[in-house]
């Protein structure tokens, strides 16, 4: 099995009058584990169904392995889709489920059952071929769905929130499993999720979507450290958001007037001087005690013990700031008046824009 690259070229999708996907360009490399991350209703499934051929783009082209997919149905594309609800065939045995794609290709029975057995072993379900899907646990059904999709030797595997039905523990286990399977078979995975932890943990690259628009496409580290928009910044990980007005920019360094006093940060994009801006600081980037760049006096309101770390909920000027610190003896007895400090590099200054949470 060889992975193929997938390219969306100016693709836009409408349902009647509503635009589900705004025109976007996206290239997914061959053999990549690529995630599409976004809140419910942002158009993730729509994009996946467009790649698999259930939906024709209203405008634009879908290319797989350089080949234009226009006019090709789902059964003619080198893709296999794993549905949000798995859609296993309940009346067929597990082995028949896995062999179905081969049956459709006219592979002889003995041959396809042998192949199904191999695939079931690949997903560690060797002894379950004769069972019915309803006899399996959630995680096992999940793996049957993967084996069934892999049986047709797709170049691109499309997964629509396949873990959403599982409980947390199993989900974490299946993440690792999926990643391992992808490494083993080496094909392109396009993985849809609204769970940022999932996307960050598994992917080579992640695309963040909001309301039918691509916000950012980047490797997980980059996405976390250098979110490109206020939406990405607040959707991925936690943020302290401080509203202010941009006073001065020089060389990427931005000075912002805020109700909490002046803040020095890094500009992202190009906000205009005098325009309202958003300053974003991650809780774990703040420290106790004044620093050279930024110091904000606050009142400690609550302490939330997380185990290895502690979250301090502080207030100042009617705004709540959260600091995440490594747990230690010093964290047991804290005075109620604190000073929070953070570096210029840790404060990112965005032009006003939509946030992920309200």
């Amino acid at each position: 099995m060889r992975g193929k690259d997938v390219r969306l070229d100016q693709v836009s999708i409408r349902f009647g009058d509503s635009i589900a996907v705004q025109p976007l360009n996206l290239t997914i490399e061959a053999g990549e584990f690529f995630s599409i991350l976004g809140p419910s209703g942002c158009g993730k499934t729509t994009i996946l169904r467009t790649v698999s051929g259930f939906i024709e783009p209203t405008i634009g082209r879908v290319l797989i392995g350089g080949e234009d997919m226009a006019g090709k149905g789902p059964n003619e594309r080198p893709t296999a889709l794993i549905f949000q609800n798995l859609a296993l065939f309940p009346l067929m045995s597990v082995a028949e489920n896995v062999a179905f794609g081969l049956e459709a290709r006219g592979v002889a029975k003995a041959e396809r059952l042998k192949r199904a057995q191999e695939l079931l072993e690949l997903v560690a379900l060797g002894g379950y071929g004769d069972k019915k899907p309803s006899d399996l646990s959630g995680g096992q059904r999940q793996r049957v769905a993967i084996a069934r999709a892999l049986a047709v030797e797709p170049s691109v595997l499309l997964l629509d929130e396949p873990l959403s039905a599982l409980d947390l523990k199993l989900r974490q286990h299946m993440r690792a499993e999926l990643r391992a399977i992808q490494k083993r078979v080496g094909i392109t995975f396009i993985y849809i999720t609204h769970d940022q932890g999932e996307a960050l943990a598994m992917s080579d690259r992640v695309a963040v979507m909001s309301r039918g628009r691509l916000e950012q496409v980047a490797a997980p580290d980059t996405l976390y450290a250098e979110p490109a928009t206020p939406f990405v910044a607040t959707f991925v990980g936690e943020q302290n958001v401080i509203r202010g007005t941009l006073r001065r920019i020089s060389n990427g360094a931005a000075s912002v007037d805020t109700p909490l006093g002046p803040i020095e940060g890094r500009e992202v994009g190009t906000p205009a001087i005098g325009a309202p801006v958003l300053v974003m600081v991650r809780p774990e980037r703040m420290t106790l005690g004044a620093t050279r760049d930024n110091s904000i006096p606050v009142t400690l309101k609550a302490r939330h013990l997380e185990g290895p770390s502690v979250n301090l909920e502080c207030v100042t000027g009617g705004q709540t700031l959260t600091v995440t610190l490594a747990n230690g003896p010093a964290m047991r007895e804290l005075p109620s008046d604190l000073v929070l400090g953070f570096g210029r590099e840790d404060a990112r200054v965005y032009a006003e824009g939509a946030l992920a949470h309200g």
């Binding site: 698999s52 051929g53 259930f54 149905g73 789902p74 059964n75 893709t79 296999a80 889709l81 549905f83 949000q84 609800n85 859609a87 296993l88 065939f89 009346l91 067929m92 179905f100 794609g101 049956e103 459709a104 290709r105 069934r148 999709a149 049986a151 047709v152």
Partner: protein, 345 residues
């Protein structure tokens, strides 16, 4: 039963059981029992009994004449004794004639004439044909209705299916009669096109062909085939269809492997209903054939009851049909691997 008492208490439990028993008794046991009982006996009227009585009266009249002309007292008494004896015999025979003794046995079943048996087999065959044709016609319809996207389309299709059923069954059959008659709509159109000549009776005799009955029956019973299928098809997760397509299956294979297996209970119920209705239908063949196209068995049953006035024979015929229908149900359930539980759903 114990759980029933526990759930409802003794008094209410007994009441519920009594109601259920009454229900079963009134709807199943009594009518069926009466029919079966009726079919198992016959009146043992030796056909010549009336003749015998007539002969006895004739004899008596002659004897009376003889007695009247006889002067010898001894011989006269002899004649009168004979008359009295014959009178007694006649009275006995008359009693037998008005209220013949019942004889129990299977003769009503075994005495079916070869012709009637042929009609019986043919009716079963026709009913199977109607069922098969209805299945072929209705499956695509049911599929379209069940998977119609958008509520509007589904409503339109459902209404289109149900509206004809607001019209009385007889009217619908007569409508088909008018369409297929010698001077009916179709022949009219053909004549207008110059393809047949009505004036010289050159029409196409649709009604003399059993397929006219098939057509009217399918039309009459479509709903009973379509609705159970729609019901099961609606519960099919469409993602399964898409998954099958995504895995490269042709439409034919998707139907054969995914959709039809899912719809099996509905198909079984639809087939059972259509078969029973068509095998037992009286009005459709009676109206459509008008005696031109060969009887259906239901018409024979009717005649046994109301023309031959032989209720015992009629019951035996009806019971035979019932047995075949029951066998059909069992075979269908076996064939489709569905239990009563699936059908009840």
């Amino acid at each position: 039963m114990a759980s029933l008492f526990r759930a409802y208490g003794r008094g209410l439990g007994v009441l519920l059981l009594a109601i259920a028993a009454l229900w079963i008794l009134a709807l199943i046991v009594v009518p069926l029992g009466a029919m079966i009982e009726q079919s198992l006996w016959w009146k043992d009227s030796k056909g010549d009994i009336t003749l015998q009585i007539d002969r006895l009266y004739n004899d008596m009249a002659t004897l009376q004449l003889d007695a009247a002309g006889e002067t010898d007292a001894a011989r006269k008494a002899g004649f009168e004794a004979q008359i009295a004896q014959k009178q007694a015999l006649a009275t006995e025979l008359e009693a037998q004639e008005t209220n013949p003794p019942k004889t129990y046995g299977l003769a009503n079943f075994t005495r079916m004439s070869a012709l009637h048996f042929y009609i019986f087999v043919r009716t079963i065959f026709y009913a199977l044909m109607v069922t098969a044709l209805a299945l072929v016609v209705c499956y695509p319809m049911a599929y379209a209705v069940a998977l119609a996207s958008g509520p509007r389309k589904a409503i339109v299709l459902t209404v289109a299916l149900i509206v004809p059923y607001a019209i009385n069954e007889l009217l619908r059959v007569y409508a088909w009669l008018m369409i297929l008659d010698y001077r009916g709509v179709i022949n009219g159109i053909l004549a207008w096109l110059g393809m047949v000549d009505l004036d010289n009776r050159g029409w196409i005799p649709f009604l003399e062909n059993p397929s006219a009955v098939f057509l009217a029956m399918i039309y009459t019973y479509v709903l009973f085939m379509v609705f159970p299928m729609v019901n099961t098809l609606e519960t099919l997760d469409r993602n399964q269809i898409e998954a099958a397509r995504d895995l490269g299956a042709s439409s034919f294979r998707i139907h054969r492997r995914v959709i039809i297996p899912h719809a099996k209970p509905g198909i079984a119920v639809g087939c059972i209903m259509t078969f029973m209705l068509s095998a037992g239908s009286y009005s459709v063949p009676a109206i459509m054939t008008r005696g031109q196209g060969g009887d259906w068995f239901s018409q024979l049953v009717y005649r046994q009851f109301y023309e031959s006035n032989n209720w015992n024979m009629g019951s035996a015929y009806a019971v035979s049909l019932l047995v075949v229908c029951t066998a059909f149900i069992l075979i269908m359930m076996r064939l489709f691997g569905v239990g009563l539980r699936d059908i009840a759903k």
